[in-house]
């Protein structure tokens, strides 16, 4: 009997009128936990009942405490007929189960009904008395803390980072049970909500057990997802990183994340090694999965691209022995683990040593109907699971969801190995389901880690110290981790622009956040690649095969687009890369988002060159050169916009006012002579000195056009999909989190890939434009953590959901810091001649005609796809890629714009901060709860984590028109979801949700029947924060003062 749950129902307010005759309601409440139910008295004829009930006490196992939600149902008493339900509240009591979190849940909760939405509020108090359980074989894992935040939570210190934990549970979806035909939609929805709540509780408990086994005490970067597989069931799966965390005793020592990076950056731009980007080869290595699976259970594994980054292999002379030692240790630490994966995206300083690049794996599976009779037997019971044989018929060995994921993880692991890395960071998993086809995806960043966080810190001592001496600050993470002579894929290496000692790739892609100590020049920006591919409607295996055939092409094109856009921005690294492939009935969509930055350690990106196919046609030539000019202009403009002024490069330019490519490469050579390794460098340069886009058909034309259609955000706006925006560090406290959803209907007839691409592109661009317009009053501001999700709910529908947070910043300060940065860089560049500043604009176009293309080589099948691919690269292409028309792409350095523009256009704030005279109703009674997808709150300090918020809601309507159509329906629903999240946080005593994420927003409509349904799953960490300004006051005056100024009613009484 390890726990006693106590619940008190205090009052209700704003209840709906349930009795038309009296315009009043006779309400009472049922409180249910597990199989025990209590009832309050009926409070007659009131819309604001005061029950003031006794304490209802439930004596339960802690296992149940973890699994079960507390269910509170508000009903209207009816003497003659059945009582009508008004609505329900589900309360997850998990936060009460660990000592440091909340101690009481108390506050007003919206009463929610799946058909009517929120109908009034109820005031509830919940407490738990836990008894210590000494049973070693216990099934519960109370006490393990969960965090959605993908970095070490602010008021904790990581003692050990243990590693990957995963679990999944399976059940039948109540909506697809036979009983659903005879029950009401409300009953069905509630069954689903309850089941999912139960399953997530159980999943969390099981993960907790695994953490305890690993001797950890917390899960960081906890990500839980639902797969609605329709008839084949419901899967709830979760991944996370097990850690041992220590609470920091003096929180004052911890500066909020938003402030610290700037200082570090200014003083020692090269200090810490973060993860880094990847390499831009299209022809990156493709690991084709073996065919055996293919033939068997209709599961198709898809060849995977590795977007690599490179690091300094064992080549580095000085670092050599140490690195070897380091590697050994890390390896041994990691090899004990089945999967050396980490869901974290930001790390303690020194954790990340090198970054290899992005690794990803996808696999197409067929979901099977449930044929196994054994399954049906267990079904009534909500605790039945993955031991079920999902895929039994046709395969001798039962394959389960677990096995599917294990397979993919194995693949990821081997990709990472191929990159010379033994760990994967920024790891995530996702699925896309359409009918019976399911694409499983996993991706992460291959990396070499510092072992001191992975083991009980005996070894750290001297090793760590010397390591840090040896690692060049701020650029270490960029150095390639693999052997230069034995590269897993063709890459183009140079010496690091920072330390000049180790090799770096020319481009780096990663899935993690920009390390706080990375040296970045200028600001970053959101870069997206968008792609659609039509596919024939097909059934079962044929469908799966068609999809898996398309996937590599999509990956390839997404990658190309990303590269092109990155170059167009004049940047050389991508952070937070997230590629989402969505499957629909008749199409596949790919959407990749990342934040582009210019890393000082990597070489300056070359420009983009356009090559025409038919050189004799005069007007065509003209057109081409026109396009070229446009591209060059865009690059120049972008550099100005993002304040990219790479200092080193200016030296080079000064030497050569004539931008002739050959000369330039020589120049480069002479410059790099300082580092004694001339020849190697030069080899890679001579021929690959330009990034060439060949326009050989309309498709290519489209691509180039689409490059240019991306409009930069209006002045005063920045956007990124990472936690913080590189180059901006003086956030002010105003934040606005939002969710925006758009659905478009494609005109169904004769859809082509191009039309589809254009539609999709327009959809995303327009959405962004709308956001900029809506948030214009916040200028200057930055959209952070911009998270796009695409789904294809029906044949001709595309749905895009965006969640992000807009944060204002102080423009003046921002300018100052960039200025100092710029000044610094200018000093470094010994001389700077203003006359020279403009010329690089012409550089690209000038070099166009004279650029020497290597002759096409024999292997290439289509003549049109040739040009400029060195044999080495080509040989690397696996078979599928030969089918793709390769666009020639080589790397050239050049086209640098050095104009120093610190000035920004003034923002067009329309009615910015209009201060209104004090209102008559100034005394607000509802406390403000902030929500943000970030792990921090600008200008504030998180003092306490209260527990994880993980909520699942279904909303359905049969009067869609009356509720304002689909937009009205979904608008209201999302607003209600926000309200319920805020209410739960407030009841826990918190005043903010950090790391908030809307993991699922499944919307279905049937306008003919006037119906619609939507499922939303959100999660985040409930926290208490204190404004920094308040903190100072409090600490200097009375330390006992209330530390939660904006926290209201549901205040914790500890």
């Amino acid at each position: 009997m390890p726990g006693k749950l106590k619940v008190k129902i205090v009052a209700g307010r704003h209840l709906p009128v349930m009795d038309r005759a009296s315009d009043l309601t006779d309400a009472f409440v049922e409180v249910k936990f597990g199989n025990t139910t209590f009832k309050t008295d009926v409070y007659l004829k009131s819309l604001n009942p005061q029950w003031n009930s006794e304490w209802f006490k439930f004596e339960v196992d802690d296992e149940d405490l973890q699994d079960e939600p507390l269910q509170i149902t508000v009903l209207d008493h009816d003497t003659y007929s059945a009582n009508d339900a008004i609505g329900k509240v589900y309360i997850d009591i998990d936060p009460l189960l660990y000592s440091e979190a909340a101690t009481v849940i108390s506050g007003w909760f919206p009463i929610y009904d799946t058909i009517h939405g929120i109908r009034g509020e109820i005031n509830v108090v919940v407490k738990v008395d836990l008894f210590n359980d000494l049973n070693r074989f216990r099934q519960s894992s109370c006490g393990v803390k969960f965090f959605c935040t993908t970095s070490i939570p602010k008021c904790y210190r990581a003692v050990i980072i243990h590693g990957f934990v995963e679990e999944l549970v399976v059940n039948e979806d109540p909506e697809y049970q036979w009983i659903d035909r005879i029950r009401t939609p409300r009953a069905s929805n509630e069954a689903r909500q309850r089941l999912i709540s139960l399953m997530s509780g159980e999943l969390q408990r099981k993960i907790g057990l695994k953490v305890l086994e690993m001797r950890g005490n917390a899960v960081v970067g906890y990500l839980q997802c639902f797969d609605l597989e329709g008839e084949s069931g419901l899967v709830v799966r979760a991944i996370g990183t097990a850690c041992t965390l220590d609470k920091l005793s003096s929180p004052a020592a911890f500066l909020p994340a938003c402030n610290s990076p700037s200082k570090d950056m200014k003083e020692s731009p090269l200090v810490h090694p973060p993860s880094h980007g990847c390499r831009s080869t299209h022809n990156s290595p493709i690991h084709t999965a073996t065919g055996s699976r293919l033939t068997q259970n209709f599961s198709v594994s898809v060849p995977t691209l590795i977007y690599t980054g490179m690091g300094s292999g064992s080549a580095g002379k000085e670092g050599g022995p140490f690195k070897a030692l380091l590697r050994q240790q890390t390896q041994s630490a990691l090899e004990q683990r089945e999967f050396p994966f980490f869901t974290l995206t930001a790390f303690p300083p020194g954790f990340l040593v090198h970054v290899g690049g992005v690794v990803s794996a996808r696999s197409v599976k067929l979901l099977d109907r449930i044929h196994n009779p054994a399954f049906v037997g267990i079904m009534g019971n909500t605790r039945s699971y993955k031991l079920l044989d999902w895929n039994s018929f046709n395969s001798d060995e039962p394959e389960t969801r677990d096995a599917w994921w294990a397979e993919i993880r194995q693949e990821i692991k081997s990709h990472a190995k191929a990159l010379g890395c033994h760990a994967v960071v920024g790891y995530s998993e996702s699925t896309s389901i359409c009918e019976e086809v399911c694409i499983l995806s996993a991706s992460g960043t291959a990396a070499v880690l510092n072992p001191r966080f992975l083991q009980d810190g005996t070894v750290e001592g001297c090793l760590e110290q010397r390591l840090e001496e040896n690692l060049p600050p701020g650029c270490g993470f960029c150095h390639i981790p693999y052997d230069e002579l034995n590269m897993p894929f063709p890459a183009h290496l140079t010496y690091c622009y920072n330390c000049r000692k180790q090799k770096v790739p020319d481009v780096l892609f990663t899935t993690v956040d920009l390390p706080s100590d990375a040296t970045v020049i200028g600001k970053g920006c959101l870069i997206q690649a968008r792609l659609c591919r039509l596919k024939k409607k097909a059934q079962a295996e044929a469908n799966a095969t068609a999809i898996s055939n398309l996937l590599p092409f999509m990956e390839y094109e997404v990658h190309t687009q990303l590269m092109n856009k990155l170059k167009l921005k004049g940047m050389n690294a991508l952070f937070g890369l997230r590629i989402q492939i969505t499957v629909g009935e008749n199409m596949l969509m790919g959407l990749a988002s990342a934040t582009g930055v210019y890393l000082a350690a990597l070489p300056t990106p070359g420009g983009i060159q356009i090559a025409g196919k038919t050189p004799n046609d005069g007007s065509y030539e003209q057109h081409i050169s026109h396009m070229q000019k446009k591209i060059n202009d865009t690059i120049a403009k972008n550099k100005e916009l993002y304040e990219i002024i790479p200092p080193e490069i200016s030296e080079e330019i000064i030497g050569s006012p004539i931008p002739e490519p050959r000369q330039r490469s020589r120049l480069l050579r002479s410059q790099s002579e300082s580092s004694d390794e001339v020849t190697e460098l030069d080899l890679s340069h001579g021929k690959k000195d330009a990034f060439v886009l060949e326009i050989d058909d309309t498709d290519a034309m489209e691509d180039v056009h689409s490059l240019l259609t991306d409009v930069p955000p209006p002045s005063g706006f920045y956007s990124c999909n990472t936690e913080i925006m590189p180059g901006i560090n003086n956030w002010t406290s105003e934040i606005q989190m939002f969710t925006s959803v758009r659905v478009i209907r494609l005109s169904s007839l004769n859809l082509t890939n191009q039309a589809l691409n254009k539609n999709f592109n327009d959809l995303c661009e327009n959405l962004l434009k709308s956001l900029y317009f809506k948030l214009r009053s916040m200028i200057p501001c930055c959209l952070c953590h911009v998270n796009f999700t695409v789904s294809l709910p029906e044949d001709e529908l595309i749905q895009v959901t965006v969640t992000a947070v807009a944060i204002t910043f102080d423009k003046n300060q921002a300018l100052q810091t960039t200025k100092t940065l710029v000044e610094k860089s200018l000093q470094r560049a010994s001389t700077d001649n203003e006359e020279l500043l403009q010329f690089p604009l012409e550089l690209c176009s000038d070099s166009l005609p004279s650029h020497p293309f290597p002759p096409a080589k024999e292997h290439l099948e289509s003549a049109s796809s040739n040009s400029g691919i060195p044999a080495a690269q080509r040989d690397r292409c696996s078979s599928w890629i030969e089918l793709i028309k390769l666009k020639a792409q080589t790397i050239r350095r050049g086209s640098i714009k050095t104009t120093v523009t610190v000035e920004k256009a003034s923002p067009m704030g329309e009615g910015n901060f209009r201060n209104r005279s004090a209102p008559p109703c100034a005394s607000a009674t509802v406390g403000v709860v902030k929500m943000t997808p970030l792990s921090f709150i600008p200008g504030a300090k998180i003092t306490k984590y209260l527990g994880i918020i993980n909520m699942f809601f279904i909303r359905e309507t049969t009067s869609l028109r009356e509720e304002g159509g689909v937009s009205g329906f979904l608008h209201a629903f999302i607003a209600e979801v926000f309200a319920m999240v805020r209410a739960h946080v407030a009841a826990l005593g918190g005043n903010a949700v950090v790391s908030y994420i809307m993991k699922q927003c499944v919307f279905m409509e049937n306008p003919n029947k006037n119906q619609a349904q939507c499922l939303i799953n959100v999660s985040g960490d409930a926290v208490v924060f204190v404004r920094e300004s308040d903190l100072e006051v409090v600490s200097t005056q009375q330390p006992t003062a209330n530390l939660q100024p904006s926290c209201t009613e549901g205040e914790v009484t500890t």
Partner: protein
């Protein structure tokens, strides 16, 4: 490619004041978009018409959802669905309950019933205010009326408490409710020159002095049967006003009154002779108005009578406002010197208010 669904939901509800204005003014989404385009916002922000359309739709949807709460402003404060900073909440409420001068002049003093609601079409055509906006304003009047109708205590306080309006707006609503309750005629052609402000000023004076609540201010019997304290005129007082008739019925008293006024004002008035000539007419007019107030019909015509019997005669003789003031002051004060007149207090209660009203009503 058509947009099926397009929404934006912020954790803090975004309120665009300009769009709110357009919504309150009853413009359709497309009209609102057109008006916003004309305001030059596209050039300012570099947005496209499609963006503007989507933004406007979003705001309209939000306002539509908020409207239910705005009907009972305290609900807006306590609700959990929309997180809105208090200053914004106040703005939403204040603007929602704000009304157009042109509109209020049309319905002021009319019964807030279905019948009047049917006339909104005509009012809309006449004033150029959209029908939607007319409906909102009318419904606001009616809603406030219904809520405070049965309440005791200060009218302004009640309105402020239940609708969270600013002081100014609460006073205006008090006037509107007061006029609607007493059905004062304000629509006659003669009264067209008067603004809502003029009437509201008079209403406030009357509420302060002529209603039950005005008497009840004496804390002696706060629990007595004084429902609708501020809404209804003090019936007893109106009955008593008949007693004033003696001032004009008794010829001696009238002459004495006149001579007192004339003596005091001689040389001080530019229009002395006109005043002297008209004194009896004016006095008769003012006193008769008082005496007639026992009949509901005559109460309704109060303003018509005042204008006919006093404002117009003076105006036709081109009395300057200052002369009117001097005259009215003297006219009221002199009564205290009339030994045969016993209803001094009554006279002061009547004339004090009336004097204020007349001065406000006396303009072109």
């Amino acid at each position: 490619m058509t947009s099926e669904l397009d929404i934006f939901v912020g954790n803090t509800t975004l309120i665009d004041e300009d769009v709110y204005r357009l919504w309150l003014d009853g413009y359709s989404v497309s009209d609102a978009v057109a008006l916003r385009v004309r305001s030059g916002i596209l050039e300012q922000t570099g947005a496209t018409a499609a963006v503007l359309q989507s933004d406007t739709m979003d705001h309209y949807r939000t306002f539509h959802m908020l409207e239910r709460l705005l009907h009972a402003p305290p609900k807006l404060l306590h609700q959990l669905i929309f997180q809105i900073p208090p200053s914004r909440q106040a703005l939403l409420i204040e603007r929602y309950y704000d009304f157009d001068e042109a509109f209020v002049r049309e319905v002021l003093g009319k019964k807030l019933s279905k019948g009047t609601k049917k006339d909104l079409d005509d009012i809309s055509t006449k004033t150029g205010i959209t029908l939607k906006s007319c409906r909102r304003q009318f419904d606001n009047f009616k809603r406030v009326f219904k809520v405070v109708e049965e309440m005791r205590g200060s009218l302004v306080d009640n309105i402020q408490q239940h609708f969270l309006l600013s002081d100014r707006l609460a006073r205006d609503y008090a006037a509107i409710v007061f006029f609607a309750n007493n059905r004062f005629e304000t629509g006659k052609k003669k009264l067209q020159y008067l603004s809502f402000g003029d009437f509201a000023f008079c209403a406030e004076l009357m509420i302060q002095n002529w209603t039950l609540g005005a008497v009840g201010e004496a804390p002696t019997d706060p629990d007595s049967q004084m429902d609708d304290m501020d809404m209804d005129l003090d019936k007893e007082f109106l009955q008593d006003l008949k007693e004033l008739k003696v001032l004009v019925a008794d010829k001696d008293l009238l002459d004495l009154h006149k001579s007192l006024v004339c003596t005091a004002l001689r040389g001080k008035l530019g229009v002395f002779s006109e005043m002297e000539a008209n004194f009896k007419n004016l006095s008769r007019g003012l006193v008769n108005v008082a005496a007639k107030l026992t009949h509901n019909k005559d109460v309704r015509d109060l303003f018509v009578d005042l204008v006919e019997k006093f404002v117009e005669p003076c105006r036709s003789d081109h009395w300057p406002l200052n002369d009117v003031r001097l005259f009215l002051n003297q006219y009221s004060a002199s009564v205290h010197s009339l030994d045969g007149f016993r209803h001094q207090a009554l006279w002061d209660r009547y004339m004090g208010t009336l004097r204020g009203c007349l001065l406000r009503l006396y303009h072109d």
